[in-house]
């Protein structure tokens, strides 16, 4: 695969997916069948995204590096940056109809659905097999610090990592 094909593979995966890990199935299929990447590369790229800053979706930058070096990382970054620009067209269309009560009602309903989906994230993390009472305690502590005490998020995460080190090692 040449650089252009690598770029188009990442672009296609991003264009036909939503969210951070939505591009995983498409990339897995395209890159493993061509022996460009292994399952281990995918696991490693996702693990890296958990400890690095930025959107989780930037795991593809790590995958780009692991499969095609620094050029791969750059191509992956450019590829995932392009599809979200469609939001400008959507926003322009929305601004023409935003004052209609029906549109406001629809957006309000979707906003509430977003809240519900965030609760799903909370539930799915806390109901994981390796969480236990220690994980629930860390989650509650993070919530209390970030919400009630408005503690800086980096400090909250650093304290969570420290708690993990103390409780799990």
């Amino acid at each position: 695969m040449g650089p252009l094909e690598i770029f188009l593979t990442f672009l296609k995966a991003s264009l036909f997916s939503t969210g951070g890990l939505g591009s995983l199935p498409s990339l897995h299929q395209d890159l493993t069948t061509n022996n460009i990447a292994t399952d281990q590369d995918f696991g490693q790229a996702i693990a890296i995204s958990q400890v690095s800053p930025g959107p989780t979706g930037l795991w593809v930058v790590a995958l780009g590096y692991l499969t095609y070096g620094f050029l791969g990382a750059v191509l992956a970054l450019v590829a995932v940056t392009i599809p979200p620009f469609l939001v400008l067209a959507l926003s322009a269309g929305y601004s023409r109809i935003e004052h209609r009560p029906l549109v406001q009602g629809i957006i309000r309903g979707v906003s509430l659905a977003v809240v519900g989906l965030l609760l799903v994230v909370v539930w799915s993390v806390l109901s994981g097999p390796a969480i236990g009472w220690r994980g629930v305690a860390i989650a509650l502590g993070a919530f209390a610090l970030a919400y009630a005490a408005r503690v800086n998020i980096v400090i909250v995460l650093a304290l969570a990592a420290l708690s993990g080190f103390i409780l799990y090692s």
Binding site: Q50, P55, L90, G105, V110, L112, A113, V114
Partner: protein, 214 residues
Amino acid sequence: MPGNNLTLPETGPAEVQPVQPNLWEILKVWLKIGVQSFGGGSSTNLLIRNEFIYKRGWLSEEEHLRFWVLCQLVPGINLIALTILIGKKLGGAAGIALSLAGMLLPSAGITTLLAVGFSVIQGWSPIQAMLKGLTPATAGISLVVAVQFANPLFRRAKKEGPIPVAISFFIIGGGAFAVTFFKLPVVSIFIGGAIIGGLAFGSGFLNRPKKNIS
């Protein structure tokens, strides 16, 4: 710029006057977010709220929520779409470019550097233990974002009465329940929320004047 107008005037207290910060300030704030945004989407959203809504007043709570909803409807990484919308609101095309640069270059750079060295450190047990601590913390942070997103929606519903409050709880709870226990795809939850929201809040059904029986 149309994006500067708030669309949910009934929510009142969170409204802000349109502000046009200079481009250097925009880049500075996004760089700060870019290097601090450990922990995925919820952490980054929380940082964005703290910097743009609470500290600087460049964005209202409603705008942030509306932008985030629009980001759910386009392909790709939602946070990049959000960065584009906020960048456009604050500084037009240059605002978009600088916001993306500030948000993505530090995080993509650190991600690449970690990819270079990760195979060396991934087996270390202290790293594994720290990762085990970070995972549940993201649940706590997601809960913070959920509560902050829900606050203006419920403030508005409370003003309208008990039925809108009940409908709001129903959409949140029903969506969460359907995904968790029936494994419904996320897009169906958005469609369901849109239909119920459109019918309940947008059709005038709740505000229809009652017949005067005398």
